[in-house]
């Protein structure tokens, strides 16, 4: 109890916990699960956007999209590294992803159907991610907090880039405008779901809050996102697929309609439009690459022996 008290006292004093510090097992487990889920999301998130790299409509957009997807891979890489400081091997985490045992953000189980989806993902999905992630820059666990500072910086660049794509489309031809509206129509509700279940139903929140892993509730973050995003959409002349959406003068918040939590739960349990495709793509890449990883290991071993001899 002394160790636990000292641990909580450091957290309350906003001091960072570092890898070699003592920490409760539940804290470690919570962090591993959360960081891994976040890393997996970055990796799986490469697929829907990667789907448009070969069809990007200009060289500038092609380069920017490629760089963005590369950034996401980079985020995955240093998030796995942050998780490893908690004593779990990257291979273990990857295995959990490939076997379907680990979660990743459900948003990536929706398909990218037009070029406007690349804009919408940057604007909305990255926008929502940033809302979730900015508080994590002050997370009590040092390596995670530091990783999130870098991630957030890059994500906010991606978010602006996505909004810029939407701006060009919204001011483009009739077909482009329709493309932008259709993308907003399809991505809006799934993005609201990204913040997780309503506060009453959310698990893990109490301990996460006490440990300063989580600093805002799901509903608080969701409202912040709606308030920030709705004016941006209106500025582009786009409409949101929510007839209940209205500005509430009393609270100064945008009031939004009821979220379809059945859809959320369906996608979460594997019944989204792309769950199977995404996992299949990751597994295929892993299987097709097995001989390469084996070759790299065998080569390193040969060289090690040669150096030792």
């Amino acid at each position: 109890a002394g160790r636990l008290g000292a641990f909580q006292a450091r957290i309350d004093a906003e001091q960072k916990i570092e890898p070699n510090d003592w920490m409760p097992e539940a804290y470690r487990r919570t962090l591993i699960r959360q960081i891994a889920q976040h890393a997996h999301s970055e990796i799986v998130g490469m697929l829907p956007e990667g789907n448009w790299i070969t069809r990007a409509p200009s060289l500038r957009r092609k380069a920017a999209l490629l760089a963005k997807v590369q950034d996401e891979g980079g985020h995955g890489l240093y998030l796995y590294a942050a998780a490893e400081t908690l004593g779990v091997a990257r291979e273990t985490l990857v295995e959990q992803l490939l076997s379907g045992g680990a979660k990743y953000s459900s948003i990536f189980n929706y398909p990218t159907l037009t070029w406007a989806d690349i804009g919408a993902i940057g604007w909305l999905v990255d926008g929502a991610a940033i809302m979730n992630q900015i508080p994590l820059c002050r997370c009590s666990y040092g390596p995670y907090a530091r990783a999130m500072i870098r991630v957030c910086k890059e994500e906010s660049f991606h978010q602006r880039q996505g909004y810029e794509i939407m701006t060009v489309l919204a001011r483009g031809t009739t077909a482009q405008r329709a493309m932008a509206q259709d993308a907003l129509d399809r991505w809006w509700w799934p993005c609201l779901m990204m913040f997780g279940p309503p506060d009453g139903e959310s698990q893990h929140s109490d301990a996460s809050t006490r440990w300063k892993i989580k600093r805002f509730s799901n509903d608080e973050l969701r409202q912040k996102f709606v308030d920030a995003t709705v004016p941006q959409g209106h500025y582009l002349g786009l409409s949101f697929p929510d007839p209940a959406l209205r500005f509430d003068e009393a609270t100064s918040h945008w009031h939004y309609g009821a979220i379809d939590w059945d859809e959320f739960r369906a996608v979460l349990r594997g019944d989204g439009p792309c769950n199977r495709d995404r996992l299949a793509a990751r597994n295929r890449a892993h299987e097709n690459g097995a001989w390469v990883r084996e070759a790299a290991l065998a080569f390193a071993e040969k060289r090690r022996r040669k150096a030792a001899a």
């Binding site: 790299i53 069809r55 409509p57 200009s58 997807v69 031809t173 482009q176 097709n288 084996e294």
Partner: protein, 258 residues
């Protein structure tokens, strides 16, 4: 409108610059196809990085080509509004990714040439090309190092990786001749010191191959027969499929800004 394709002028410097831009774009595009599907996350990043460098080189070269042509065309016109036979890239860079060994060997064979080429081009009599070369040299040095290290690793890794690397080398080697061939339209540019003479580049290329293949334990193909046609717009069947995918949006929405 009977076509969304553009016609380009017939100018030797323009054609030479366009050809190098096409090399870089098509190879960059091929590498970008790996994104999210590489054998390990580090290679997702590395291949994307190389693809980005190459697309960047292509953009600089197209931009310069547009200046030479002076017909109001943009980089995107060249990339998205030419038919396959109007592309002038060598056949090597349009070959499909195949397995990771094919991608690596293709990259190695190209980068060992490109690095020496850009080094030589830093002293081109054409200031714009010399500037593009100066920017490209450190990039191609990295591409070469990455591909050479993997070539060695695959060649001297497992039995399977050795077999795959040798298969890739045998399949792709006949496409290397085009890098050293001199189209009639380029002789003046070489004499004028604007383009590097491939003959002066071959020794560095051969030396790199001899060293890297020896270390990898791979056998250099003895065949002297070489594929060609890319520089004349006679491509393999693969390029048309690549361009169909790449160009579909600008072809479907002529004139739209993205």
């Amino acid at each position: 409108m009977a076509t969304t394709s553009i016609a380009v002028v017939d100018d030797r410097l323009f054609a030479a610059v366009l050809a190098r831009a096409d090399d870089a774009l098509i190879l960059g595009h091929r590498l970008s196809e790996w994104c999210g599907h590489a054998p390990m996350l580090e290679e997702d990043l590395a291949l994307a990085n190389i693809a980005l460098d190459l697309i960047g080189q292509a953009r600089l070269l197209y931009e310069y080509a547009a200046t030479i042509e002076n017909a109001g065309h943009t980089e995107d016109d060249y990339a998205y509004r030419r038919d396959p036979h109007q592309f002038r890239n060598i056949l090597l860079v349009e070959q499909p990714n195949g397995d990771f060994a094919h991608t690596i060997i293709r990259q190695y064979l190209y980068s060992a040439f490109a690095h020496a080429f850009w080094q030589a081009m830093t002293s081109s009599a054409d200031a714009a090309l010399a500037a593009i070369a100066a920017k490209s040299v450190p990039e191609s040095a990295y591409h070469l190092r990455h591909a050479a290290e993997w070539t060695i690793r695959l060649g001297d890794g497992t039995e399977e990786s050795h077999r795959r690397a040798q298969d890739a080398l045998d399949a792709l080697f006949p496409y290397t001749g085009e890098m050293f061939a001199i189209p009639e339209t380029e002789t003046d540019l070489i004499v004028g010191g604007i383009l590097a003479d491939p003959a002066t580049i071959r020794p560095a290329w051969t030396a790199s191959l001899d060293r890297i293949l020896a270390e990898a334990g791979l056998a250099k193909p003895q065949s002297t027969w070489m594929q060609s046609g890319g520089r004349r717009g006679r491509h393999s069947e693969h390029l048309g499929h690549l361009l169909a995918e790449m160009q579909i949006l600008p072809r479907s929405y002529p004139g739209a800004i993205w």
